[in-house]
């Protein structure tokens, strides 16, 4: 067991990379072998990750399954990884989604299969890495490394406007993360030295802990906060930095959309929780209204724009903007219910939105169109598809009993009762978003599944194949599991969230007790080591 704890995260990162190595030796013409190997690797990663769920100690709020090794010790950079309540579920979501993304691409990727599969595995490694890195340099490397395969997936295997989409995606996220890089480097040079047995190994440290220990002047913190926040706001995406998302979603192949929606978007909120709030609690508090107002705009605006989209994928993309607005509202409402709710929405959105994209992808495979008006009456020819599609739509609109409800409910309960000014107003506005969700999703569902079949081409559509059935059933099971018994998820995150909230509150208290506007003295220890 101890061995497992120590190596599991490294396995999750390196097994996909080993898979890439194996793939590179397989001739590109043997497509089936390539697909099978990729699926095998992705499934292996998932199987390896499952025991983490059970072995995770829910009473321990700190990093678990931690492992540290030398990387660039002279710079104070270490290969340091670990999991706590903020990242456990997201890592499991990643490993869960990956094999399904491979299955989803089985028949819809027709060329350069090898390159595609390699990109998927690289993406897998990068995403797991982002969630478990405890070293800022390592984090940044994974963060950027993950962009490249995603860029390729959209740009090469995407649809008509793939180049524009890929470039937009790349520039947006790159522009955001460069500010973050600057901030990381700046902060790095303020950190304390790494001292082992009395010898100074490095003058500074990239460890997250050292970054957290920094006590910078408030004005500096403001700049740094926004540098981080910008990178994460683009990823979430928050209004007005969201326009890359619909484009990327529409143009990406199904697997790309699934990974984007399920995991990449979650890195934004994750970044806010892990970095922005714990590095800069006072600034976070000051700018809470800004973030919350943007989140609310996202909720309502995303839903409204979704209502009039003719393209199913675009509709779902805008619904993501709306859902992630709830997540940000939850995070910045700063209490345990709203945080738990935000995490549940993150996981729940990962499940239901991926499923939505997969199902639209199945339609695309059959008809090569995503326009809602091209369909209609599908229940008659594809009853099983229609039933599952309905379940997924209902979970996305937050019907009780499905995963969508509990998260929204907790966020709203939390934000309504948060100690922020105008908290009740915020929560009330957000509630309006709930009803708009019902409108656009049901409207889409009805136009696709109900009615007579008007389009001749839809008359001969085939219902789900065995492969597609296997692809969707796990989603349905999770939708009901999380909806009926969410305690299994909230238990895992509770301890860490309580701890982080407590340290946030303490930090805020400290700022308030010192005279307002006074600059905090830089950590004395830092100076001494220098």
């Amino acid at each position: 067991m101890e061995t497992y704890s120590a190596i599991v995260l490294s396995l999750l990162i390196f097994v996909p990379l080993a898979g890439v190595a194996i793939l590179s030796f397989i001739p590109r013409s043997q497509e089936n072998t390539i697909k099978t190997v990729t699926l095998g690797v992705a499934s292996l990663v998932f199987i390896l990750s499952v025991p983490m769920y059970f072995a995770y100690d829910i009473s321990n709020p700190d990093m678990q399954f931690a492992y540290i090794a030398n990387w660039i010790p002279n710079w104070g950079a270490y290969y340091s990884i670990g999991v706590d309540g903020l990242s456990l579920l997201l890592i499991l979501l990643t490993t869960f989604i990956m094999p399904l993304a491979v299955i989803a691409s089985w028949k819809s990727v027709h060329f350069h299969v090898k390159g595609f599969m390699i990109s998927l595995l690289l993406l897998d490694a990068g995403m797991v890495g982002v969630f478990c890195a405890r070293d800022m340099l390592l984090f940044y490397v994974f963060w950027e490394a993950m962009l490249v395969p995603m860029y390729l997936i959209i740009g090469i295997w995407g649809h008509e406007q793939r180049i524009r989409a890929a470039v937009t995606f790349f520039i947006y996220t790159m522009a955001g993360s460069l500010f973050m890089l600057v901030a990381i480097i700046y902060m790095y040079f303020q950190t304390a030295a790494v001292v082992v047995d009395g010898t100074v190994i490095s003058n500074h440290s990239f460890a997250i802990q050292s970054f957290m220990a920094l006590q910078l002047p408030y004005d500096t913190q403001v700049y740094l906060f926004w540098a981080f926040a910008l990178a994460f706001m683009v990823k979430v995406p928050m209004f007005p930095f969201h326009t890359w998302l619909p484009l990327a979603h529409v143009e990406a192949p199904t697997a790309g959309s699934v990974d984007l929606a399920a995991i990449l978007l979650k890195m934004g909120p994750y970044g806010f929780m892990r970095f922005c709030i714990s590095f800069f609690p006072a600034v976070s508090e000051q700018y809470t209204p800004v973030i919350i107002v943007l989140a609310l705009v996202g909720i309502i605006y995303g839903a409204l724009v979704a209502m009039v989209q003719p393209d199913a994928k675009k509709l779902i993309a805008y619904s993501s903007v709306s859902h992630l607005g709830f997540v940000m509202l939850g995070i910045y409402s700063m209490n345990i219910q709203s945080w738990q709710g935000a995490m549940l929405i993150m996981v729940g959105h990962g499940i239901s939105t991926s499923a939505l994209f997969l199902m639209v992808g199945l339609l695309y495979d059959r008809r090569h169109t995503r326009l809602i008006e091209e369909f209609g009456g599908l229940w008659k020819v594809m009853p099983v598809f229609s039933v599952i599609f309905m379940i997924v739509c209902l979970s996305s609109l937050g019907l009780p009993g499905t995963n969508g409800f509990v998260g929204e409910f907790l966020v709203l309960i939390g934000s309504f009762n948060s100690s922020l000014d105008h908290a009740r107003l915020y929560a009330t506005i957000a509630m309006l978003g709930v009803i708009l969700g019902a409108v656009y999703l049901l409207w889409m569902y009805q136009r696709i599944a109900f009615g007579e079949i008007k389009n001749e081409k839809n008359k001969s559509l085939k219902d789900l194949s065995l492969r597609e059935y296997a692809l969707l059933i796990p989603f349905v099971l999770l939708i009901f599991w999380f909806g009926v018994y969410p305690k299994t998820l909230t238990d895992k995150t509770e301890a860490t969230m309580q701890k982080n909230l407590k340290s946030y509150k303490t930090a805020i208290e400290n700022v308030k007790t010192t005279a307002p506007g006074s600059e905090m003295k830089k950590n004395v220890n830092n100076l001494q080591v220098k």
Binding site: P240, I336, L399
Partner: protein
């Protein structure tokens, strides 16, 4: 020792859930097996409900039977689900399981040849589970969850004939409109946690009195907003008539007897919270009263047999709300007309829920009867029917029993419950009570009129030559007979004297055992209401009794000439649907389209602009990178001059130093 039936009460909702899961997973291909399992399970639930009721009558009292932690979050948020048994929920258990069971049996015949029979029965099982879960809630959150689930079942069953566009539209409309109402309920749930820290009705009741915060004070109004959506109160009533697109057994079950009364049940459950805000209660009363009268006027000029019944349902739901509202409109601590406010609130609860109780039976009867007629005639239009009374004896005569019960003729069920509401309005003794008494009386006149209009047009006269009606099979007539029996006798338990004579517990004594009041009965009020109903019946006879054979479409309605333009307004349901669709199309969708435009052109446009500017800026600088060495040297030289010049200005004497 054998477990008591209280301990088995959790099976009442659990059995239909099991049936739903089992039939969905395993028996979708075997239509008869699915139907059999569903019916068997609901019969078992019915039996258990009866046994639970008997235990309660024997004095078992109220009890929370099961407590499962659902989302525990430390001390902060503990939400449990369970099975709560008290007189109100047990009364609902009886209503729900009885009607559900009969509708299941009826559907065996009605849906016999449907391809989607398995799907239909699975949905029914899911509905039964959800509805029972709703009535057995003791807390707002559990109720909200099941509240949404019954809404889902309603959506699924209205859209059962999904290839019909009208059915699909109606399903979506029902879900969206009720969900708009649910928003109020949801807000109430959130607020209730925020201010009271509990979802339990009994606990909120105490805490509510102590709060003075605005949001907390208006929280009953938000609950009521949810109830308006589900129970079709004006102006959220528009979905219910359209919901008639669903199969008729569904209309009887969900859209007459059970789900639509969830709103009434909710207000009744929270009556002691509501009664602490007399203002809200006045709203409830007036919206109820308005809906009662308003829907009745529309029913007068409808031609689709199910729609007439749907508007009638709306109208009766209005009566129930009216009763709840006017009873609580005094406030708990005040007195009026010699009654304590709390007594009046309980009288309102008794009257409202008693009408719910009797209405469930006769309205289910009417819908099932209508289904039987539609089954035989293949049309919904009453003007295309006729002469059925000799061909479909059981259907027609049970339907007439239902009609009499609904019209409020003694001693049928509807008389007692409607009379209680009228009496209550007078007992309250405020000016509002008198106004609403008048409204209710006017509604009673219209009710009797439109119901007899329906019967006379559809059942008398000559059968159209093209139709060959015949009596439905036993599985369909049996529920009619049972419901007709209930429609005759169920009202008797409302009257204290009769109940006493028969040596049974009266409804009021059952509902609130510790409260030693009884429903009031005034012969004068009963006389007036019967007189008014009689007037309605006579008017219907005058207009329609001698229906000539050539009246074969709605154009021949003699009322049309009598009412003139008003008739068109009524036929068009006062254009409320048009108002809503105008709001939807011209406001909501315009805003949405505006947002989409803004997103494409302004938000995305400014991003493109930044990109464009960057490229342009690059183009401007492009010539600089010419590759010509002499240019570069020139630039370096000029640059150097600038630097030197700058230094010369800023640091006096530096040039001299450099030269040295």
């Amino acid at each position: 020792m054998n477990p008591t039936y209280y301990e088995l009460a959790w099976l009442i909702p659990a059995l239909p859930l099991f049936s739903f899961i089992f039939t969905v997973l395993f028996t979708q291909k075997y239509r008869d097996l699915t139907a059999f399992i569903s019916v068997a399970v609901v019969v078992a639930s019915f039996y258990l409900s009866i046994r639970v009721t008997m235990e309660m009558l024997a004095g078992a009292g109220s009890a929370q039977m099961l407590n499962i932690q659902w989302i525990p979050l430390g001390k902060a948020l503990n939400v449990s689900v369970g099975v709560f048994l008290d007189p109100l929920s047990v009364m609902m258990l009886i209503v729900v399981t009885t009607v559900t069971m009969l509708v299941h049996i009826y559907s065996l015949g009605y849906m016999k040849h449907e391809d989607g029979k398995s799907r239909f029965f699975s949905y029914l099982s899911l509905f039964t589970f959800s509805m029972l879960g709703l009535v057995l809630s003791d807390n707002m959150l559990q109720m909200f969850i099941f509240w949404e689930l019954v809404g889902l079942c309603s959506y699924l069953l209205i859209g059962y004939y999904y290839t019909k566009k009208t059915a699909a539209d109606a399903a979506k409309k029902a879900f969206s409109v009720t969900r708009a109402g649910d928003l109020g309920f949801f807000m109430a749930v959130v607020i209730c946690w925020g201010y009271f820290g509990t979802f339990n009705f009994a606990e909120i009741q105490t805490l509510y009195g102590e709060t003075t915060e605005f949001l907390a004070r208006i929280f009953p109004f938000l609950i009521f907003f949810g109830a308006m959506g589900k129970s079709g109160q004006f102006p959220l009533h528009i979905w219910l008539p359209d919901a008639m697109e669903g199969p008729t057994p569904v209309s009887a079950l969900i859209h007459a007897a059970t789900m639509v009364v969830a709103g009434i049940f909710l207000v009744a459950r929270a009556i002691m919270i509501f009664a602490q805000t007399p203002d809200t209660m006045l709203w409830v009363a007036y919206i109820g009263g308005f809906t009662a009268l308003f829907s009745a006027t529309i029913a007068v000029a409808q031609h689709d047999i199910k729609r007439i019944l749907a508007f009638s349902t709306l109208s009766q739901l209005g009566y129930m709300m009216l009763a709840l509202g006017i009873g609580g409109s005094i406030g708990l601590s005040n007195t009026s007309n010699g009654h304590a406010g709390s007594d009046l609130a309980l009288m309102g609860q008794t009257a409202g829920t008693f009408h719910l109780f009797t209405h469930a039976f006769f309205k289910a009867l009417l819908f099932l009867g209508a289904g039987s007629v539609i089954h035989a005639m293949h049309t919904n239009n009453i003007w295309e029917m006729g002469g059925l009374k000799s061909k479909m004896k059981i259907t027609v005569w049970t339907f007439i029993i239902g009609t009499i019960a609904l019209s409020g003729i003694p001693p049928f069920a509807g008389f007692w419950s409607k009379d209680e509401i009228l009496a209550l309005c007078m007992e309250v003794g405020t000016v509002h009570g008198y106004i609403l008494f008048g409204v209710a009386l006017a509604g009673a006149f219209l009710t009797a009129f439109y119901m007899f209009r329906l019967c006379l047009v559809a059942f008398w006269g000559k059968t159209p030559a093209s139709a060959h009606p015949h009596e439905s099979e036993f599985s369909m007539t049996f529920p009619l007979i049972v419901l007709a029996t209930l429609s005759v006798f169920a009202g008797l338990i409302g009257n204290h004297d009769i109940a006493h004579t028969l040596n049974i517990t009266s409804y009021a004594a059952f509902l609130n055992p510790e409260w030693n009041h009884e429903a009031v009965f005034h012969l004068s009020i009963a006389g007036i209401s019967v007189l008014v109903a009689g007037l309605g019946i006579v008017s219907a006879f005058v207009l329609y009794a001698k229906r000539p054979a050539e009246w074969t479409s709605e154009a021949h309605d003699p009322l049309r000439a009598k009412l003139g333009k008003l008739y068109t307004h009524l036929e068009n349901k006062w254009y409320i649907d048009e108002v809503w669709s105008w709001i939807l199309n011209n406001i909501l969708f315009r805003i949405a389209a505006g947002c989409a435009w803004f997103d494409r052109h302004i938000v995305d446009g400014s991003v493109d602009l930044v990109g464009f500017m960057t490229t342009r800026f690059g183009l401007v600088l492009q010539p600089v990178q010419s590759g010509k060495l002499q240019n570069y040297i020139l630039v370096v030289f000029v640059g150097l001059l600038f630097v030197l010049g700058f230094l010369y200005m800023k640091v006096p004497g530096i040039l001299a130093q450099m030269i040295q």
